[in-house]
């Protein structure tokens, strides 16, 4: 019974505790709140990494609250997992890493970015809660807790999105939109929980997976879950909330929101792969997801190109990038039932999709941060207002270039690495998909050249005479992300082999997932 | 100012008309056409003074163009040469006694070679370029002997 077994709960608990401490500290010293948050998140980051190492070496870990075994023996001698438990395999920890890094960076960034705002204590505790929620979604092992954490995250997020002031129009609207969306999502999830419980009397993923038989009810449940989760992930055509939320939220929150949407993406994968797996008609569902993906890619980018607001532009690009992940994993799902195809290109496609997940979090975060930096200095998000900032904000410019190059999949940045995986596997499934994907990434490039030209190039504008580089902490936040971006870009095989591949396998090999829980029984 | 033997082997020309009668201008263009083909010597007409090595100036300088001519000359990166083509650019020719003329170009910018003629024949243009080569080569010799700072 050493401490290392308790890492999972610690990862959640520390930020949670901090969340409640922050207001108290805030009474004493405003500054301290930020510091505390950063500390808490850094600790959970370290723990996450530690856990990741453990899991990737030892194997999946099940953490049961208040017991050693998840199962409860009924008088009848029947055993099945009933206790609240975290079930963390390669996939979950992969997501966990993303969240940990992003939230940590967000916290650092906030230090300077939010300096002049009031109500910092609320801000930070909400931030922590949001993080906790996201962590929970990724770690939890049963449907109901999924719902709980979903709610936690949503509520925190709603508050944060409209943090800039409910009296201001846009933030309020954005917050409201998000509230509606997420409550619908939560309700649907709850509904499906009902369905499953009613049908099997089980809530634990693993247990469900082992008994699920793809009955009519299950079909309904799936039919409800897939769109809803896609909506939470901001896939076209249910993307209306994304641009508002992303652009109106304070920048550090925006990037955490990105990882939150990815969390729901994760849930989508979890449901389709680990829960249903080959029981369902993979080809059909796969295609549905692929279509979601292609739509998101294309519409997202075309919308992005016409934007004038830099954050909205990036937000729309975020949508189109989500499309890539859906595409990659969708192809994987589509050929799940066909071992040959799966081995030749299915796995690669999924690797691409999953790898893109983390890459996306990194460069998207970076881009949002640079956008935030511009906003921080110029006080505007309108591209027509800006211009010639490369003269005064050299670092920001460089970070932006890195981010833009990465998102448009230019070598040697991480975006290229993951997109390449997608291209060179997807075209075997259907050549057109690859063509569209490549075209989209060129369009993405175009949209970012536009930003680059508008905001950074050109003559120094008189009104921005006094503009200078952003404060240390923000720069460092961006440095962290750009380092990761470049590192992933330079040694993709390293990451794919050690981090992504296991995650993909965790998704594909359902029995392992169930085994970890039920095996103990 | 640096010079090397490749400079005069690829003189890129920017054509500047400061109020000429077209005669010289079309003869310059004719110089590029098959019959005379200045491109044999690596001479090529460019669209931007930034790319130019040689300014071919034609015509008496009207006050208006004087400003432009000066600006173009400044925009041209060093090392550069100026060749005046045509009598009116050299001295004013028939165009004198007017309230709007500056007269010859050398009042405005330093001129290296004058090519009188009204209008000059394309061969005369080539000959003018030849003079420029000679001048440049001599200059290089000097620089070799006594490197200018």
């Amino acid at each position: 019974m050493n401490l290392s077994n308790h890492i999972p709960i610690l990862i959640i608990a520390i930020p949670l505790l901090a969340a409640f401490l922050v207001p108290l500290i805030g009474r004493i010293n405003k500054k301290a709140t930020g510091i505390l948050t950063t500390l808490a998140l850094s600790v959970s980051l370290i723990l996450t990494i530690a856990l990741a190492v453990k899991i990737l070496t030892v194997g999946p870990q099940v953490y049961v609250f208040g017991a050693t075994s998840p199962s409860l023996t009924l008088p009848s001698g029947l055993k099945f997992p009933i206790r609240i438990m975290f079930q963390i395999d390669a996939m979950s920890i992969f997501m966990g890493l993303i969240t940990a890094i992003i939230s940590f960076v967000g916290a650092i960034y906030s230090l300077a970015f939010m300096e002049h705002h009031s109500g910092l204590d609320k801000y930070y505790s909400l931030l922590l809660l949001l993080t906790v929620g996201v962590f929970g979604i990724e770690f939890t092992g049963d449907m109901f807790n999924l719902f709980v954490f979903l709610e936690i995250a949503s509520i925190a997020a709603v508050a944060l999105i409209s943090f800039r002031g409910v009296n201001l129009g846009e933030p309020a609207e954005a917050g409201f939109k998000y509230m509606v969306v997420s409550s619908i999502a939560a309700l649907i999830v709850l509904f499906t929980v009902g369905i499953f419980y009613g049908e099997y009397g089980l809530l634990n993923f693993a247990a469900l997976a082992s008994v699920i038989k793809y009955s009519q009810l299950d079909k309904i449940a799936l039919g409800l879950l897939v769109p809803v989760l896609a909506m939470k992930a901001g896939a076209v055509p249910m993307h209306m909330w994304t641009p508002d939320a992303y652009s109106e939220a304070p920048t550090p929150i925006t990037i955490i929101l990105v990882s939150a949407s990815q969390a729901s993406l994760y849930v989508l994968f979890r449901v389709t792969f680990s829960l249903y797996n080959i029981t369902l008609n993979t080809l059909a569902v796969g295609w549905i997801i692929i279509i979601f993906g292609v739509l998101s890619m294309f519409i997202g980018v075309t919308m992005a190109i016409i934007q004038k607001d830099i954050k909205r532009l990036i937000a729309y690009n975020a949508i189109s990038q989500t499309g890539y992940m859906l595409l990659g994993v969708g192809v994987g799902l589509a050929v799940l039932a066909n071992p040959v195809a799966l081995s030749t290109y299915g796995i690669t496609a999924m690797e691409g999709g999953i790898f893109h997940l983390i890459n996306h979090a990194m460069y998207e975060g970076l881009l949002f941060l640079t956008a935030g930096a511009l906003f921080f200095r110029t006080g505007t998000r309108d591209l027509d207002e800006m211009g010639g900032l490369a003269h005064s904000m050299k670092y920001t410019t460089i970070f932006f270039i890195i981010g833009a190059a990465a998102i448009s999949g230019l070598p040697p940045f991480n975006g290229f690495a993951s997109k390449l995986l997608i291209y060179e596997s997807v075209y075997r499934f259907n050549p057109l998909l690859s063509i569209i994907a490549m075209l989209v990434s060129i369009l993405t490039l175009a949209s970012f050249v536009k930003v680059f030209h508008g905001a950074f190039l050109g003559p120094k504008l008189p009104k921005f005479e006094e503009v200078r580089e952003v404060p240390q902490s923000m720069v460092w936040a961006m440095v962290v992300l750009s380092c990761i971006t470049i590192f992933f870009g330079l040694f993709p095989d390293l990451i794919v082999k050690n981090l992504v591949h296991p995650a993909v396998m965790a998704l594909i090999e359902q029995f392992k997932y169930t085994g970890t829980v039920l095996g103990g029984i | 100012m640096k010079l090397n033997k490749y400079f005069e082997r690829s003189l890129w020309v920017f054509h500047l008309n400061t109020g000429s009668c077209n005669g010289c201008d079309i003869e310059i263009v004719a110089g590029l056409t098959p019959r005379y083909d200045l491109e044999r010597f690596g001479i090529k007409l460019v669209g931007s003074p930034r790319h130019a090595d040689v300014l071919l100036v034609t015509g008496p300088v009207t006050h208006k163009m004087a400003v432009r001519a000066k600006r173009v000359y400044e925009q041209t990166p060093d090392p550069k040469a100026v060749i005046v083509v045509g009598t009116c650019g050299t001295s004013g020719g028939v165009f004198y006694d007017s309230y709007n003329l500056l007269g010859s170009i050398d009042k405005l910018i330093p001129v290296d070679v004058y090519v009188p003629g009204c209008p000059v024949r394309p061969e005369a243009v080539i000959n003018g370029v030849l003079q420029a080569w000679i001048k440049l080569e001599k200059l290089r010799e000097e620089m070799k002997n006594a490197p200018v700072k």
Partner: protein, 178 residues
């Protein structure tokens, strides 16, 4: 209306405008080539008051081709010659018509003809700038030829004190003298 011989045209002018309007009229006939084929040029000098209606009348004959306005500074007056040609686009038919009018320097004003012939705008602006003639009814457009900062009250083609006095002599006079 049907084709009219030069003398008929002059008659028409005399008829339509009152007698005093036409100060002087003459028809030149020139010959060309071996065949000595003939073409004619009409010179009409018209009082300033009737000038505009003369143009109107001309337009009724056929929409004239407007060439140019020549100006000349003759002491107390400025003489403007509007060069037109009509009956173009037919072999041997075209007739050049030059309408002359004189404007006293006391009151340099002449109505515009751009309302009838838009193509005349450039020429009128030119006259305005060269001789300081006010063209009534011409929208106050920026100088087409003179710069905005051109010395006020100086009209280059005037022969009196308002003309350009000193001109840049040939630049190497000096050299010549030595």
């Amino acid at each position: 209306m049907e084709y009219m011989r030069p003398d008929e045209i002059v008659k028409l002018f005399k008829k339509r405008l009152n007698e005093s309007a036409i100060i002087d009229s003459r028809i030149e006939t020139k010959t060309a080539g071996l065949k000595k084929s003939i073409y004619s040029v009409i010179w009409l000098q018209i009082r300033l008051e009737n000038f505009k209606e003369a143009i109107k009348l001309l337009c009724t004959i056929q929409f004239p081709h407007f060439a140019i306005i020549s100006g000349n500074d003759i002491g107390e007056e400025i003489e403007l010659i509007y060069h037109f040609s009509i009956y173009y686009a037919e072999r041997f038919k075209e007739i050049s018509i030059n309408l002359t009018t004189r404007i006293p320097k006391k009151n340099l004003k002449i109505p515009t003809i751009t309302d009838l012939i838009p193509g005349a705008q450039t020429a009128e602006r030119e006259i305005k700038e060269m001789f300081g003639v006010t063209i009534e009814g011409l929208p106050n457009l920026p100088n087409i030829f003179l710069p905005q900062d051109f010395q006020k009250g100086v009209y280059p083609l005037r022969r009196d004190e308002k003309g350009v006095d000193k001109t840049v002599r040939k630049e190497d006079e000096v050299r010549k003298v030595e």
